[in-house]
């Protein structure tokens, strides 16, 4: 009884509408895979590849950046800096969307802060280099503004769960700090890195608002194409939209499974070294 409203809510506003999308993606007066065929035709296939590329690179840069920043915070052992930066990262990671897009557009715009500063101090004209925010490279740059803070948030607890004994042991066995990072820290934290990457990847793969505001029609992405199909900017083809949506959900499920797998790996490692000095 107490669960009734919750499960009614979930069914009505999530499960049934989504099941409807999946069903309609392969049903039009009979079973058909035409919509999937269309979804792999040139324009939409390109969108798929571009989305994968943007998600992969922004995920990878976000992971590396976030890992280095979180490492620096952890090693500098300053609690107040860590508190301030995690609070800031919390705001930035969750506050992507429109304000961030607007901030980038005006900062890199014709009379924006970065454009002016480059011109003034380096006599470097940004617009003449052909740099454009509404391109895949521009989008990756913008995505990094929320991907790196998100990675910092996710990785900080992973670093602080590392036991100090691990470093002491490595150093006493003759490692220097860099070797300790390369041969102990990175392998030990590999599952966390993998999990973080899959989170960032999924995050970028499903991002709509930022891409819509910054690139609009000039970068061909799957979420944008779905949005166009809903808005009817293209001749309305619901079946095709459904097929694209199903493909998007498949990719997101895969990266979520990767995340769950990374949690399992971390648990396994923890069990393997239980009782030892290594507290992963």
């Amino acid at each position: 009884m107490i669960y009734g409203p919750l499960f009614l809510f979930i069914s009505l506003f999530a499960l049934i509408p989504v099941a409807n999308v999946i069903a309609n993606s392969m049903w039009a007066r009979g079973l058909t895979f035409n919509f999937y065929g269309q979804s792999f035709s040139s324009q939409y296939l390109n969108a798929f590849i571009t989305t994968l590329k943007v998600a992969f690179w922004s995920g990878l840069i976000g992971l590396i950046g976030g890992a280095v920043v979180a490492l620096s915070l952890w090693r500098s052992k300053s609690t107040w800096v860590t508190t301030v930066i995690s609070a800031m990262s919390g705001v930035l990671a969750n506050f992507a969307g429109l304000p961030l897009a607007v901030a980038f557009m005006v900062t890199f715009g014709v009379s924006g802060l970065v454009t002016n500063a480059l011109q003034k101090f380096f006599h470097f004209n940004l617009s003449q280099t052909g740099f454009n925010l509404s391109s895949s490279v521009g989008l990756i740059l913008v995505y990094c503004a929320f991907q790196i803070p998100l990675a910092v948030l996710v990785l900080l607890p992973a670093y602080s769960s590392l036991s100090e004994d691990l470093e002491a042991a490595a150093l006493s066995l003759g490692c220097n700090v860099l070797e300790y990072f390369r041969r102990v820290l990175i392998p030990v934290l590999a599952p966390s890195f993998l999990g973080t990457f899959s989170l960032l990847f999924a995050n970028a793969f499903s991002a709509y608002v930022t891409a819509y505001a910054i690139a609009g029609g000039s970068v061909n992405l799957i979420p944008i194409q779905i949005g166009y199909l809903i808005n009817g900017n293209v001749s309305l083809n619901v079946g095709l939209g459904n097929a694209l949506a199903v493909e998007e959900m498949v990719v997101l499920s895969l990266s979520l499974s990767l995340f769950v797998l990374s949690l399992r790996m971390r648990k396994k490692r923890r069990q393997r070294v239980k009782g030892g000095a290594i507290n992963v």
Binding site: Y3, P5, L6, F9, I10, F13, A14, L15, P17, V18, N20, G65, V69, S72, L73, R75, S76, V81, I85, G90, V91, L92, N94, G97, L98, P99, L100, V102, A103, F104, M105, V106, T107, F108, G109, S111, G112, L113, C144, A145, I148, P149, A202, S206, Y208, V209, P223, I226, G227, I230, N231, V238, G241, N242, A245, E248, M249, L252, S253, L256
Partner: protein, 261 residues
């Protein structure tokens, strides 16, 4: 020593990377036609009835979503945590639906499902509180579970009932106050999500219901100055939300210590 400096440089670079766009935004929003900074774009915004209308709409929607979420998520999560761990696992699993079904896909699903018959809700704002509640569900459920894990809810509930309280009375008088900080924290998260939601609002209402993010998009396209002033205001709102959440989080910690002692 050398190592420490590398870390400091990395942190400063990170701060520069994340702060430059926002410094640029603020600088742009206060730059007037001349060389002296001015707040005129903010003034224009405040007297604009379209802006105040969208602000009111957004606040109203967010408030509805918070009440709805607290109402439908709190009792089942609490009950499942205490008495039905298996149901709790199901609730946790379905709460992650928004991670697999992103906002665009949800919008596409709603546009098809709610377009006919009894539930003909596309084009109206009535769908939005439910959609926002769904988007905020994973966060709300986790915050509430965190709160539950820090309390001894089960023995308090049993104690109240053994002293003669009915289950409902004990829930209202003991459990709800116990969960208050979790509900406030989770509610703040839901509030922030609702205030900033753009995708589903735009795609399911077709722009017929003006909210803060929708108006931000229009304002920025028409007049970048006004749009950037609005982005600054939205950011201030978000930072205030996070500060409030941090404030309640520290309050929670203190109270938990008191309970343990």
């Amino acid at each position: 020593m050398f190592e420490k400096w590398i870390y400091r440089i990395v942190i400063v670079l990170f701060l520069t990377q994340v702060l430059v766009p926002f410094v640029g935004l603020v600088q742009f929003s206060i730059q007037g036609a001349g060389t002296t900074p001015t707040l005129s774009s903010f003034q224009q915004l405040i007297v604009n009835p379209l802006f105040s209308g969208s602000l009111l709409n957004s606040l109203f929607l967010a408030l509805c979503t918070v009440i709805l979420s607290i109402g439908i998520f709190t009792p089942p999560v609490w009950h499942a945590y205490l008495y039905a761990p298996k149901v709790l696992r199901v609730i946790e699993a379905v709460s992650f639906v928004p991670f697999v079904v992103p906002a665009v896909v949800l919008a596409l699903a709603y546009v098809q499902f709610f377009s006919s018959g009894l539930l003909n809700l596309v084009g109206t704002p009535y769908l939005l509180p439910f959609a926002f509640a769904l988007l905020g569900m994973p966060f709300y459920v986790q915050v509430l579970l965190n709160r539950l894990r820090h309390t001894d809810a089960l023995s308090l509930h049993e104690a109240a009932q053994s002293l003669g309280a009915t289950g409902v009375y004990a829930f209202m008088k003991i459990q709800l106050p116990l969960l208050r900080s979790g509900m406030i924290n989770g509610g703040l998260l839901i509030f922030t999500i609702s205030i900033g939601e753009f995708t589903i609002t735009q795609l399911t209402t077709g722009g017929s219901y003006n909210t803060l993010p929708l108006y931000l998009m229009i304002a920025f396209t028409n007049n970048p100055l006004e749009g950037s002033a609005m982005a600054v205001l939205t950011l201030v709102l978000a930072v205030m939300g996070v500060v409030a959440a941090l404030f309640f989080a520290s309050d929670k910690r203190r109270r938990v210590k008191g309970e343990r002692a």
